[in-house]
Amino acid sequence: MNPFRFLLEKSWQQQTVSGIPEGGEFTTSPYKVALLFFLAVVTVMFGLFITAYFVRMELDDWRPMPESPLLWLNTALLFLSSITLQWTHNVLKKEHFKKFKIGLVLGALLTVGFVYGQVTVWGQMQGEGYFLYNNPANAFFYVLTGIHAIHILGGLFVWTKTIVKYWSGAELEDLKLSTELCALYWHFLLLVWLVLFALISYT
């Protein structure tokens, strides 16, 4: 079905409400819609950073940075946290609250581990003399990983709201939605990270 069919409606003809569903054509949760739009905005932002990266890379003073093996460990941590949150969402759907709690906390711990790992990598790099201002490759590395980390911290803020919801006894539907959106956000940030990691490693 054509998703833009609604644009063809001849609204000057019909004078009725019968046949028009009460919630309109779109029935997704507004929170999910807002999140999807936000992810699109973030995608555009990283897309522009990456475009700038490619343009800048072509200029002749570009000196690639060495790759820290720790980044592989961090990637694994983020990957696991993303999977854990998905699992958390799945067990919540089956109303296993104990597993849900474990999953939620474990997901956050893995994520904090990732951020800690990233900070460690920054420390390592600076210890080896790769400062932000030495070279555009370094600058892009710090800026991209930094902005990604900030988005992760934003995710942890929403995660906190989810766990507060659980404590304060929010409705199950509400909790399911929050968890689902957390999982979605984590998958997205994992995807962004994989793209960034590939970018940093192969250029």
Binding site: L7, W12, G23, P30, V41, R56, D61
Partner: protein, 591 residues
């Protein structure tokens, strides 16, 4: 249907009781809209004052000793940035978007009222940061509103110390504010429409604001990205945009960066920004024209499609701002092509506005005057845009007053005329009071004729080759003395128009206090906001029950109907017909 608390449940609204929660930390979209609007108009007046100072310098060089070249560039920069971002974007989307979306789609409030409130306070913070740059040492940045590096952050440019940093910080905060508001507007339009309000029954105002918001969400990241990278270049000494430079006799540490990269990023934001301002204007003016011409908008569906198509095209025309930047000439060919294509849907809109007026029962009210004035100025500015969209014409004209005249007509005067049309049109709904009509008409004629007196001569100056961005022309052979005389005249007209804007401010303040009480639907309009049970609408908008929408928003002058307008929320069987006119019927069978 997905459950949206505030969309249909009055008891889910947290009714504010104290003064602070009602008017300061308010989550009511109408209060937030007025907060947004007031702040935007305030900074707009600051920018207007700056333009008066610029004009004084240009009209009477060597007269005002308190304006030195650095001041002049700071005035230019702040005037441009404030007008484009902090006035127009904020007033159209933060102001009218907030006010009209929930009322016109039949919702009780935005979907995320708390986020909406945050959006306003972030906007206010960005304005405060921006205003603070007037008071730091070195003053605000004087880099031009495009903030091109390397000069924007090099010594020698006014405000290159703190001014530019505050500008970039302010923009970043503004973008955060806009993103919070924008997610809200988009989600609200998609999710919170009342029963019967299909997307194609939305008034064009909502369509314009909706598409402009999507543009903003996807365009502002480009500014955000470039602001971050430039901040690093400035504060930490990276070379994202900074090439190797010898500045004031010393070698800087930067090397290898690409200033043109910044220009691409900036205009990838900057061009959609034009349409972020223009599309809401298109929408609002369509509703005003249709209502005061007592006729349905001509070609509603085409108007919606044109908005969507213009929105999509606006992302692939950005480099027409960069014909003189030294980029690959083939780029210029491509971007000239897309630029001229975008004239097609835009022309469709202009034709449809004119055809809406055709044989309408035109009521020359104050909002209608401004709306018709807009058609003139927009057509005018649009036509010079077709000149400048061509590379070969643009190259000689790019750095002259012709460009100043063009963009002021098309995205200065035109959107501002729509803003006035909309402010006068919706003022009775926002305040419950009627404005003074005579003052409104004086304001219109002074503004409309006055702006022509300012900008028409500038086209001529441009053809003479008078360069823009110059503090003073000095003695140049190809610029005749008459050009200076013309400059003085332009300044007089500009000061006059500037002062006449206070007629509007006075009218608003006076009418709020002493104005006559307004009818709930003074313009006899069909859209939902005029059918609220209270005037002005109270928190929650609709009383006990949400309105149900039976038709589009343009049911004016229906043959046989007793009134010449049929509100969207009246059931077909309740429409009163004249005697002998037969029954008001569903027209789907006729076609």
């Amino acid at each position: 249907m997905t459950y949206i608390p505030i969309a249909d449940q009055p008891n889910e609204l947290h009714d504010p009781h104290t003064f602070i929660s009602k008017y300061v930390w308010s989550q009511d979209h109408k209060v937030i809209a007025i907060q947004y609007g007031s702040v935007a108009i305030f900074v707009g007046l600051v920018a207007l004052f700056l333009s008066a100072l610029m004009r004084l310098q240009l009209g009477y060089p060597d007269t005002f000793s308190f304006i030195d070249p650095a001041d002049y560039y700071q005035f230019v920069t702040m005037h441009g940035m404030i007008m484009v971002v902090y006035l127009l974007t904020a007033l159209f989307l933060g102001g009218f978007g907030n006010y009209l979306i929930p009322l016109q789609i039949g919702a009780r409030d935005m979907v995320f009222p708390y986020l909406n409130m945050l959006s306003f306070w972030f906007y206010l913070l960005s304005v405060i940061i921006l205003m603070a740059s007037f008071f730091v040492s070195g003053g605000p940045t004087g880099a031009g509103w495009t903030l091109y590096p390397p000069q924007a952050i090099l010594r020698g440019t006014p405000g290159a110390d703190m001014g530019i940093v505050l500008m970039l910080a302010s923009l970043a905060v503004f973008i955060v504010a806009f993103t919070m508001g924008g997610l809200n507007y988009v989600t609200t339009v998609l999710q919170a429409r009342t029963h019967g309000m299909t997307m194609m029954r939305l008034p064009l105002s909502v369509w314009g604001i909706f598409v402009a918001t999507i543009l903003g969400l996807f365009a502002f990241p480009a500014l955000f990205v470039s602001a971050i990278m430039m901040t690093f270049d400035k504060l930490i000494g990276t070379s994202f945009f900074m090439p190797a430079i010898v500045s004031l006799g010393e070698n800087l540490n930067t090397a290898g960066g690409s200033p043109v990269l910044f220009q691409h990023l900036f205009w990838f934001f900057g061009h959609p920004e034009v349409y972020i301002v223009a599309l809401p204007a298109f929408g609002l003016v369509s509703d005003v024209l249709s209502c005061h011409a007592r006729k349905n908008i001509f070609g509603y569906r085409m108007m919606v499609w044109a908005i969507v198509i213009i929105g999509a095209l606006s992302f692939i025309v950005w480099a027409h701002h960069m014909y003189v930047s030294g980029m690959n000439p083939y780029f210029g060919f491509f971007f000239a092509f897309t630029t001229l294509i975008i004239a097609v849907p835009t022309a469709i809109k202009v034709y449809n506005w004119v055809l809406t007026l055709w044989e309408g029962n035109i009521r020359l009210t104050v909002p209608m005057l401004f709306a018709i004035g807009f058609i003139f100025t927009f057509l005018h500015g649009g036509l010079t845009g077709i000149f400048l969209g061509n590379v070969t014409v643009d190259l000689p004209l790019s750095d002259t007053y012709f460009v100043v005249a063009h963009f002021h007509m098309v995205m200065g005067v035109s959107p501002v005329l729509v803003l006035y049309a909309a402010l006068y049109h919706w003022f009775p709904k926002m305040s419950g009071k009627m404005f003074n009509v005579t003052l409104g008409k004086i304001h219109f004629w002074a503004t409309f004729l006055g702006t022509y007196a300012i900008y028409l001569p500038m086209h001529y100056l441009g053809f003479l080759g008078v360069p823009r961005r110059y503090y003073a022309m000095g003695n140049t052979d190809f610029i005749p003395d008459s050009a200076q005389a013309l400059n003085a005249n332009i300044t007089q007209a500009a000061i006059f128009v500037g002062i006449m804007q206070f007629v509007f401010i006075f009218n608003i303040i006076w009418s709020l206090k002493y104005g006559k009480k307004s009818d709930p639907n003074p313009w006899e309009a069909t859209s939902l906001e005029w059918q609220t049970p209270d005037n002005p609408p109270v928190h929650g908008n609709w009383g006990e029950k949400l309105p149900v929408v039976y038709r589009w928003a343009y049911e004016y002058s229906v043959p046989g109907a007793k009134d010449d307008f049929i509100p969207q929320s009246i059931a077909p069987e309740d429409v009163v017909m004249e005697e002998g006119a037969g029954k008001y019927v569903d027209r789907s069978e006729e076609h």
